[in-house]
Symmetry: C2
Subunit: 322 residues, 2 copies
């Protein structure tokens, strides 16, 4: 959540002439996204987000991300839309980094979503999955089940500082999920994979757009729903709010009907999604030096979510009504 | 250059209803100013900067800053204008911190000002000094000559890591400046005291506004000009650009005629301004732990400027034509 690369006015001016967007009116570094440098650029032609891709993003992935936004926009989803330069290219260089301009979306992200907002999210998620159909590029999910064991290894021997016995909890869960996931066969497609409330904009109760597609990849569509159940439907005390879960699942189902096997798999997918964020947060927690000005997200939050899902006999635990 | 306090959507909404500015449309933390948390807030009523004042700002100074912006705006200067709530108050609380809303200014700050931009700055600085007349509140300059010895003490014994013999250079300069400043008697008023290029916006060659008045105070007006000569008229190799200096001084003089004693004092004031930024940068440099994600400004830049000014026989060294 920072600007890593400062863009001087002269380099900005040279960059902007490649586009048909008029003259620069204002330019502010914004605190959005943890991975890249982001600027809010206003010109006589409109408002845009300028992103400079920093080291943690693989440049080989950028065509996937930008073409995906283009594809989703063209298919009716409200998300940032890449702006091509006069030469037709959306991806270019600025200050030695890959850089792209996308349209600005109005809206504000919510800290504590209401059930109505959870429903709006469920509907938008289904629309995203529908809009993703026919997208030609592929990107495997590096943070799905095959990526979890290396993360668990990275934390092993150190995780007890976060919670006693955490290594053992993770090892047992990993065994169970690797076995369980191997039995699943579910509809696949493009998923957002990180659709937390901070990546969703609202204007009042109206969902106004989705942002930050830099974890988007190919995976089971229902796994994306499981990520959102984790991210949206727990209360601050980590109790699951069944009303919100039901609102989200039913709204999703109304826009893209879930198959019986997707509904059956939800508890396992929710456990997987909980373990994925538990592991990445745990490794970040252990690897971030004390005093660093980076906001560390609490891994224990996801341990509590995991424990809830381990008790879920079926999707009714999340509010699903058969 | 960071957002220190995160403002959740619900607290923002509760804050905004105190104003007659419509509904929130977007809200972004921006990387502007080193001392406070700043947000760009767009509502159906316009665009604003929301500032939450963090620990380094003395709350007792806030009425001075906000009323000064009001006074300067009312007297024709283009600067952020505090927005009062429905109750007439411009200063209130948000997330436990003093907070204020000001109008948004278009424009982009320039990295390498041209001579024309230096002239525009000189003219705007004189206008600021004229507009400040009659302002009722007072704030002494804590970083004028009486504040330098404590800073020198704070760095003593450590400054050689920045440059060999720096303690001795500072001690000798401090003695000379304390003696020299004691002999001066110059027109006083409200000065900006930190009018670096990053605090000045341009739209093309046109100066569109001045921002960041959080060092503003009462001091000699010509000292503010000396600060600007330092901040605007040196080239990246730390050579003084006489064309830029002349452009700035003459434009200032045309808008607010300099007295002979102000012109005579310029070399001494420029040395003082150089020592002031040398000292604050030096202490920040020595006190910032390695690896901290704070941009450290180079104290040596100001040592080089100081050395230039020590050789200046009179104001013609800066381009002044008698």
């Amino acid at each position: 959540m920072a600007v890593y690369t400062e863009v001087p006015d002269d380099e900005l001016a040279a960059f902007v002439v490649a586009y048909d967007i008029g003259e620069v009116v204002s330019f502010k570094g914004i605190a959005e996204g943890v991975e890249n440098s982001n600027y809010l650029l206003a010109t006589t032609g409109g408002r845009f987000i300028l992103t400079l891709y920093e080291k943690r993003v693989d440049p080989a992935d950028l065509p996937f991300f930008l073409e995906l936004l283009q594809h989703l926009s063209a298919n009716g989803l409200t998300c940032p839309q890449p702006v091509a330069g006069r030469d037709g290219e959306a991806l270019r260089k600025l200050c030695g980094r890959p850089a792209a301009l996308v349209t600005f979306l109005d809206g504000v992200s919510v800290r504590r979503p209401t059930a109505a907002q959870c429903a709006a999210l469920g509907s938008a998620l289904a629309n995203l999955h529908e809009a993703g159909k026919g997208f030609g590029l592929k990107r495997p999910n590096a943070l799905s089940v095959s990526g979890w064991r290396p993360l668990a290894e990275a934390a092993r021997g150190r995780s007890h500082v976060v919670a006693p016995g955490l290594d053992e909890t993770i090892a047992a869960e990993l065994d169970a999920l690797e076995a369980g996931f191997a039995t699943l066969s579910l509809p696949e497609g493009v998923i957002h994979a990180d659709l937390f409330p901070n990546n969703v904009f609202f204007l009042g109760e109206e969902l106004s757009g989705l942002i930050d597609f830099y974890f988007a990849c190919d995976d089971w569509l229902a796994y994306d729903l499981a990520i959102c159940l984790n991210a949206w439907c727990f209360e601050p005390d980590q109790s699951f709010n069944v009303t919100k879960g039901r609102a989200m699942i039913e709204a999703y189902h109304a826009a893209r009907p879930l198959l019986p096997e997707e509904i059956e798999a939800l508890p396992l997918l929710a456990r997987g999604a909980a373990l994925r964020f538990l592991l990445t947060r745990l490794v970040d927690w252990l690897d971030t030096p004390p005093g660093a000005l980076v906001k560390k997200l609490d891994p224990l939050e996801y341990l509590k979510k995991l424990r809830f899902h381990q008790q879920a006999a079926d999707a009714t635990a999340f509010g699903w009504r058969a």
